[in-house]
């Protein structure tokens, strides 16, 4: 009897081990481009089901709210997003695939969050939204949602090259007390566990994402800060140029993967 019990335990253990390799063999459709695997493919079946159903996806609460904000007039200029951009479904289509872009006035890279706040302060004469506020996250997700399914396609040539190079250098640079670079987890060891956490390729195509651990929607820069803290490094501020450059590098690294915003991850 006892032998039988041990045998069944062993079989159980083997089955558990093989699920990981089965997952890799699965046909991931658009979520796999060449050897690039979206974070979707590392999520559990249950988590993927939440993302697949737009109703069940809790991130849609923030997106719904942002949809209302799109046409609500704010600031001294008496404008809303809609005043200049009309329907988001047309004007914002494809935006998420090409950001971050170079802002000529600022001579720096700007991502979607920063562009939204730039619009608010310069065009609407309204107050900028705070980073990680429900409004900014929601609007970013709403804008990026309009490009859902379109492949990421950022420009890294011409005047953008130095920023791309900086982002790439950041990615391969060791930092923190653990002396680790991004690549040590996400390039060398995706699909393996670090303690209880399954490491993904660290693709950026699904952000802002609803993370079950956070119990709310969060930005890519929040994820960066979390990663930096995990390797005992001093995180940079939200929207810091270092992080925007890294965002550019990550997007080019995930070139071709579909925009998944708002994704759901554990």
């Amino acid at each position: 009897m006892r032998k039988l019990y041990i045998a069944s335990l062993l079989i159980g253990g083997m089955a558990l081990g093989s699920t990981a390799s089965q997952a890799e063999d699965k046909d991931w459709g658009a979520y796999k481009v060449g050897d690039k695997l979206s974070g979707y493919t590392y999520a559990t079946k249950e988590t993927r089901a939440i993302q697949d159903d737009d109703f069940e996806n809790p991130a849609q609460i923030w997106v719904d709210q942002a949809e209302g904000n799109w046409s609500s007039v704010e600031g001294e200029a008496g404008k809303s997003c809609e005043s200049c951009h009309n329907a988001a479904s047309d004007s914002m289509k494809g935006v998420a695939t090409r950001y971050p872009v170079l802002n000529k006035n600022k001579a720096a890279m700007v991502n979607v969050e920063q562009q939204i706040n730039f619009c608010r302060t310069s065009q609407m004469k309204a107050k900028a939204w705070k980073w990680e506020s429900a409004e900014l996250l929601g609007m970013t997700a709403f804008v990026k949602l309009q490009s859902r399914g379109m492949p990421v396609n950022v420009k890294i040539d011409g005047p953008v090259t130095p920023y791309y190079e900086k982002g790439k250098a950041f990615y391969y640079e060791r930092r923190g007390q653990l002396d680790m670079a991004c690549k040590h987890c996400h390039e060398d060891n995706p699909g393996k566990y670090a303690r209880a956490n399954l490491l993904s390729q660290g693709q950026s195509n699904g952000f802002p994402t609803y993370r079950l651990k956070w119990q709310k929607i969060g930005s890519l820069h929040r994820r960066f800060r979390g990663c930096n803290k995990n390797i005992r490094a001093q995180p940079f501020a939200y929207g810091a140029p270092e992080y925007v450059n890294l965002e550019l590098y990550l997007n080019s690294r995930g070139q071709g993967l579909p925009v998944e915003t708002p994704s759901v991850r554990n």
Binding site: F55, E56, P58, Q60, I61, W62, D64, Q65, A134, L212, Q215, K216
Partner: protein, 109 residues
Amino acid sequence: MAKVKARVKSPKSVKKGEVFQVKTLISHKMESGRRKNKKTGENIPRMIINSFACNYNGKEVFASDWHPAVSANPYMAFHVRAVDSGTLDFMWKDDSGKEYKKSAKIAVT
């Protein structure tokens, strides 16, 4: 998020006698009461939705009590048998006594 928002998804029309699914989602922080304020060390008071109910033409067809282990922004799906055309009224109640309501129309053919 300060503003609580409820979402409900149910079919617009169903056949009589058919069992259909209703999905609900509400934004709520669901503060469990077990967390501490990092600076002061004091407990953050519990603030969760403690009950949810669905009335179908005034008759209760689904009800549940929720406890602190329920996640933030709780999702609840359940099945109802179609009887008559009318409304489905949903009600969430949280610890402050606040009630959040939402209703959906349903046509039974």
